[in-house]
Each structure stands twice: as structure tokens, then as C-alpha cells.
């Protein structure tokens, strides 16, 4: 019995309980992930991080949340009040809604009812996630605009431009998955990965998705929307108290959501790691939830890891990277994938498939070598201007000195 049919049989109370469960899980994960992030980053920076409240400082995020909620709720005079209030609500709502189509477990016994931990299963589930993500952008844009201040506006515009740009790359990276899975339904995509994860088969897609999901969530190194040095706090500069908390929440829920989607689409979803399938049989359906969260938290760790190690990109570099690298590469990759897919569906001889892959690789090498040569040429051209003697005193540049010595 497929997931869709199982969900179709759900009575109303099961749906309500599932929704509650997902919401609670998201909030809990947010709170714990804030703590986890601070601890991990602290470790990476050779600090201790929060360790006072509760064991290992586990309650730190909780008390922070309480403190945030008790702060004064300011609305600037220049703000557009309605939208100012509306923006964080849109943002938060949208990020929770994405979870509706994520299958968290396999078939489980839910208070005596056989079902799966998935709120709904629609045939265009992944598109739905994208749609919700695009609605989520409204929260950021409107927050930036309604604050009636320059920094938030710039931050909001930046983040919306960023999200829209990277949504394109993200959508393109998903196309390959759709082609291989033959469906846009999340549960069917998970089911299609029972042998091989798409992270393996469609490795380039996986990479593109991973990059663009970081961009999509405005996280470091792509956190230009809240670049403190440039824009103070970005779109939420004027927000305080609970409304700020909502943005905070939505950011982390978003991280969890895109991680969950990545898990679903590329890492086999709730299924166990390869070779550990026996856990599912032994420990029952609910144990798949553990596998799911392990994978999601793995992604979360990557997010934190990135934040801890990489500096922020400059805005124009970032947009260039999105439009001039990710998207063209995705398009080319989709062409390759669809060709291969059609070949295998038509039972083409293996020789031809191998020849095709080989020729693609050759073309790739040719293009990259050309690009490299161009870069070298540019560098050579640039050297000439560098060697010009500036008309003010400058300290000796080691490289140029050595170049001069070496000829």
C-alpha cells in the first residue's frame, strides 16, 4: 500500500495529531539546533560555548527564547504597521508548511492506526515545497520594506534577489531527480531510492542543491541579507521581541526544512543507511524516524560547519556564482541526465552510453581548459598594470619582488 493511499485513509484526528507532532518537532529542533550551533561553532573557535543553563547548557536556547519573548515589542514610527506585523507571520507559516509533504517515517502504527508520518502526499509535492519557499520570501521582503528604514530595505531586497536566484538553481537541480524518479511526489521519490541514493547517481545535482539550499536560507557564507558589517541586521534590523523571535524561528525551521528535503530527495529519506536496512525490520517503522533525523542533523552540521569556516561572499560575486555558474551548469547537467535516462529507457547498448559519458567528459575538459587559459591571459594582462609604479610610497609586495628577480 503506497503512502498516498495510507494517508488517504487517515481519519481527522490522526491528521490533527500528525500536524501537531510535526510542529512540535520543528520547534524542538529549532531550540536544540540553536544550542547545537553555538556549541559547535564555539568548539571550532576553541571556546566552550553556552554551558551554564542546564546540563551542557542545553536549556540555554530555551531561556533565551523566554527572554526574547519578554522584551519590549517596538514598532518604528515610519513602519507600515500591518505589514510589519504580517511579515514574520508569513515567514514562519511558510517554513512550517513545507513539512507537510515530507515523509518522516515509513509505515508506522500511530495509536493503533497504520499510517506514515507525512501530513499529505500530493503528486507534485516537491513543487509544493518550492511554492511554499517562494511564499516565504514575502516575509523577508515585506519585513524589509515595512520597517521604513534603509538598511532593512536593502537587506530585504538583497535576500529576495538571492532567494529568487537560487530558487532557479535549486529547481533545476531537482529536475534531474524528477527525471530519474519519474514523479514529483516526495514519497515516491523516497521509494525510488531504495537501491541507490540520488546523491550518488546524481551527484552534481546533489552538489548544486546543497549549495543553493545554503543560498536559499540566507546562511553563511551566503548570509548577505543580514551582513552585519554592511546592513546592521538586514531585513530584521527594526524587529524586536517576539516578532524577532519568529524570524529567528523561521530561519532555523527553514534550515531544517531544506535539510529534510535534501534528505528526502537525495539521501533516501527515512530509509536506513546502506547495509543497515536490518534496523528497520528489527526495530519497527518508528526507528526510520531516527534515520531521518540523523540525516537531517547531518545536513544541519554542514550548515554550522560552513558558518564556522567560510567568510561571507561579496554580493556581486554571489549573484555571479548563482547565475553564471550554477544555473548554466545545471542546465547542461539536465541535458546529460535526460539523454542518459532516455538511453537507458530505450535499452541503448552500453557502449553507446559509455561513449556518450566519455564525450561529455571530453567536452567538459575542453571547456574548462579554455576557461583556464583565458584566466591565465587575464592574469598576464593584469600583471602589466600591477607593475606600474604608483606615485605614492607603498611597502614592497613580496610576490612582485620575487617575480622581478626571477625575470
Amino acid at each position: 500500500m503506497s503512502n498516498a493511499e495510507l494517508i488517504g485513509q487517515d481519519p481527522g484526528w490522526v491528521i490533527a495529531l500528525k500536524g501537531l507532532f510535526i510542529f512540535a518537532a520543528c520547534v524542538f529542533l529549532t531550540i536544540m539546533s540553536v544550542w547545537a550551533e553555538r556549541r559547535i561553532v564555539a568548539r571550532m573557535q576553541q571556546r566552550s560555548g553556552p554551558n551554564r543553563v542546564g546540563k551542557f547548557g542545553l536549556l540555554q536556547a530555551l531561556v533565551d527564547g523566554v527572554k526574547l519573548a519578554l522584551k519590549e515589542d517596538l514598532i518604528p514610527k515610519a513602519a507600515d504597521r500591518v505589514i510589519f506585523v504580517l511579515a514574520p507571520i508569513i515567514s514562519t507559516t511558510a517554513c512550517f508548511m513545507a513539512f507537510a509533504v515530507i515523509p518522516l517515517t515509513g509505515e508506522v502504527n500511530f495509536f493503533g492506526h497504520q499510517t506514515v508520518m507525512q501530513l499529505t502526499d500530493i503528486s507534485v509535492g516537491v513543487l509544493y515545497v518550492l511554492a511554499i519557499a517562494s511564499v516565504g520570501v514575502y516575509g523577508i521582503v515585506l519585513a524589509g520594506w515595512s520597517s521604513g528604514s534603509t538598511y532593512p530595505l536593502l537587506g530585504g531586497l538583497r535576500s529576495s534577489a538571492q532567494v529568487i536566484s537560487y530558487e532557479v538553481a535549486m529547481g533545476l537541480s531537482l529536475v534531474a531527480v524528477f527525471i530519474y524518479a519519474g514523479s514529483m511526489s516526495t514519497s515516491e521519490i523516497v521509494a525510488a531510492q531504495d537501491k541507490w541514493w540520488y546523491a550518488v547517481i546524481l551527484f552534481p545535482s546533489f552538489i548544486i542543491y546543497t549549495i543553493s539550499m545554503v543560498g536559499e536560507t540566507n546562511r553563511a557564507p551566503f548570509d548577505l541579507a543580514e551582513a552585519e558589517g554592511e546592513l546592521v541586521g538586514g531585513f530584521h534590523t527594526e524587529y524586536s521581541s517576539l516578532k524577532f523571535a519568529l524570524f529567528f524561528l523561521s530561519e532555523y525551521v527553514n534550515i531544517i526544512a531544506v535539510s529534510a528535503l535534501a534528505t528526502t530527495l537525495f539521501l533516501g529519506g527515512y530509509h536506513a543507511l546502506p547495509g543497515l536496512g536490518f534496523t528497520e525490520q528489527w526495530l519497527g517503522g518508528w526507528f526510520t524516524l531516527a534515520w531521518f533525523f540523523v540525516k537531517v542533523l547531518g545536513f544541519f552540521f554542514v550548515f554550522v560547519w560552513l558558518r564556522g569556516t567560510l567568510p561571507r561572499l561579496r554580493y556581486d560575486q554571489f549573484m555571479k556564482f548563482g547565475w553564471k555558474v550554477l544555473i548554466p551548469f545545471s542546465l547542461a547537467w539536465i541535458m546529460v541526465v535526460s539523454t542518459l535516462r532516455v538511453m537507458s529507457q530505450q535499452q541503448a547498448p552500453r557502449v553507446i552510453i559509455i561513449a556518450f559519458i566519455f564525450s561529455i567528459a571530453l567536452i567538459y575538459i575542453a571547456i574548462t581548459s579554455l576557461v583556464d587559459r583565458q584566466k591565465v591571459n587575464h592574469a598576464k594582462a593584469a600583471k602589466v598594470t600591477n607593475s606600474e609604479e604608483p606615485n605614492f610610497p607603498v611597502p614592497a609586495i613580496p610576490n612582485s619582488r620575487s617575480e622581478q628577480l626571477n625575470g
Binding site: I83, S123, L127, S134, L142, L153
Partner: protein, 259 residues
């Protein structure tokens, strides 16, 4: 002949509830679009209407279109609108005094007549085929069915539309492109410019704002070693707006005594 308004298959309860809840809201939102002063509010109301329509699509067995509606319209098109709105004259509220005499009255009259006639026309429209619904064509999934139509019967139109889309994208790029008259003023240029000035006093950068230890804000000028305020430490914008706090009260007491 079947009267459309009377004999079309009545739909189930939940859809009726959905409709009677969302339809008036979307009509009000539409009317709101016309009367709100700020264009951003109009845009939001339109986005709301589009989401409502998406829900209607889904309710009418057009799942794919519903989702695409949200992705394309609410996500991309309306976001583009907001974007442009914020780029150009975001603060301008529209004036509602009509400049073309009689236009508004005629427009509203004509529109009411138009809408009224259209509604009455639909009301008495007849339909000479039994209603089949979409259950059979959607049996394989709405997206699949639509894909089949698009890539068989309408494949040529599809290709043409894709060409149109590319053309539009290129056209927009050409239209919005402005030839830069000088190369962007980057950090490097700024640095060189600082050093090329007559005196090298500021070559290391301007002093930071704020009176250290007593106050820390961008609107307070820094104190020079002599204890006097340094006006260059304040952003020119703040200075122009008059948002500058007098720094004299933060100056060292003994300086004042010396005077």
C-alpha cells in the same frame, strides 16, 4: 441543452465552504487593490488573490496549475513586482485626485455595465453536453495528463511559448541594461584615491564615531586627542539630517576647565 447555472453537477460540501469563504475575500481584496494608496499593499492584495485562485485551481482538479500558479505568479511575478516597486519610488503614495476629467465616473459605470452584462450572460449560458468532470483525465495524475497534452497536441505551441520566454528575457535584459560610463568604484580605487589626496592624514581611514567609554553610537562624533569633536567621524547623511548628538557633554572636564 443543459442550463449551465442550474444543471452543472453540484460540487461537494467542502469545496462550497472553501469557495464561499475565499471568493468574497478575493473580491474584497480586488476592490482593495483599487483603493489602497500604497502600491505595495496593492501588490500584497493581488498576491492574496493569486493564492486564493491557486487554491481554487487545486479544488477544481488542477493541482499542477495551482502549484505553478503559486510558484510562477505569487513567487516570481509578484516578487518581481515588489522588487520593482521597492526599487522605484517605494515611498510614493498615489494621489487619488483624478486628472482626466470624467474618466473615473465613466470607467466605473462602463465597468459595472460590463461586469453586469457578463454575469447575466454567464447566468443564462447553456451547455449542450453532459458534464463529465476531470476524474477520468486526471486518473493518471493531473501533471501527467497535462504533460501529455502539452507534449503531444500542443508541443508546437509549447516550443513557440518557450521561444517567447527566451525572447522576453533577452528583451528585458536589453531594456534594463544601462551602459556604465565608468568602471565600478571598488575598494581598490577608494584606497588609491585616499593615498592620492594632498595630505595623507586620512590615508589610514576616518576615525570611528562614538565617544569611547562614555557613549557608543553612530550619531556621536569621536573626540580628538585634544578633546575636541571630530566632525569627520559622523556619516555625512546623519549630519545632513541633523541626527547628530552634540558631543560637548562627553568631553573631558579638565579640557573645559582649561578654557
Amino acid at each position: 441543452m443543459i442550463n449551465l447555472a442550474l444543471d452543472i453537477g453540484k460540487t461537494a460540501g467542502p469545496e462550497a465552504v472553501l469557495f464561499y469563504f475565499l471568493a468574497p475575500l478575493s473580491v474584497f481584496a480586488g476592490l482593495g487593490m483599487l483603493i489602497v494608496k500604497k502600491a505595495v499593499h496593492s501588490a500584497l492584495l493581488l498576491a492574496w488573490i493569486m493564492v486564493s485562485l491557486a487554491i481554487f485551481y487545486i479544488a477544481q482538479d488542477a493541482l499542477f496549475l495551482g502549484i505553478v500558479q503559486v510558484v510562477v505568479y505569487t513567487g516570481a511575478v509578484m516578487m518581481l513586482f515588489l522588487f520593482i516597486l521597492m526599487l522605484v519610488g517605494v515611498d510614493t503614495s498615489d494621489s487619488f485626485t483624478e486628472t482626466i476629467r470624467g474618466l473615473r465616473a465613466i470607467a466605473i459605470t462602463a465597468a459595472i455595465g460590463f461586469g453586469g452584462l457578463l454575469v447575466t450572460l454567464i447566468g443564462r449560458a447553456t451547455f449542450n453536453r453532459p458534464i463529465t468532470g476531470l476524474a477520468s483525465v486526471n486518473s493518471n495524475g493531473n501533471a501527467n495528463g497535462l504533460a501529455k497534452e502539452l507534449f503531444t497536441q500542443y508541443v508546437f505551441a509549447f516550443e513557440v511559448v518557450s521561444a517567447l520566454l527566451i525572447t522576453a528575457a533577452l528583451g528585458a535584459m536589453v531594456l534594463a541594461h544601462s551602459q556604465k560610463t565608468r568602471s565600478p568604484f571598488a575598494q581598490r580605487d577608494l584606497s588609491i584615491a585616499r593615498f592620492r589626496k594632498d595630505n595623507l592624514k586620512d590615508a589610514a581611514g576616518l576615525p570611528s564615531s562614538g565617544v569611547y567609554a562614555l557613549h557608543n553610537a553612530v550619531d556621536v562624533p569621536a573626540l580628538l586627542p585634544t578633546g575636541k569633536a571630530a566632525p569627520t567621524s559622523i556619516s555625512a547623511v546623519l549630519e545632513a539630517r541633523g541626527d547628530m548628538i552634540e558631543s560637548s557633554k562627553f568631553q573631558l572636564q579638565q579640557e573645559e576647565e582649561e578654557k
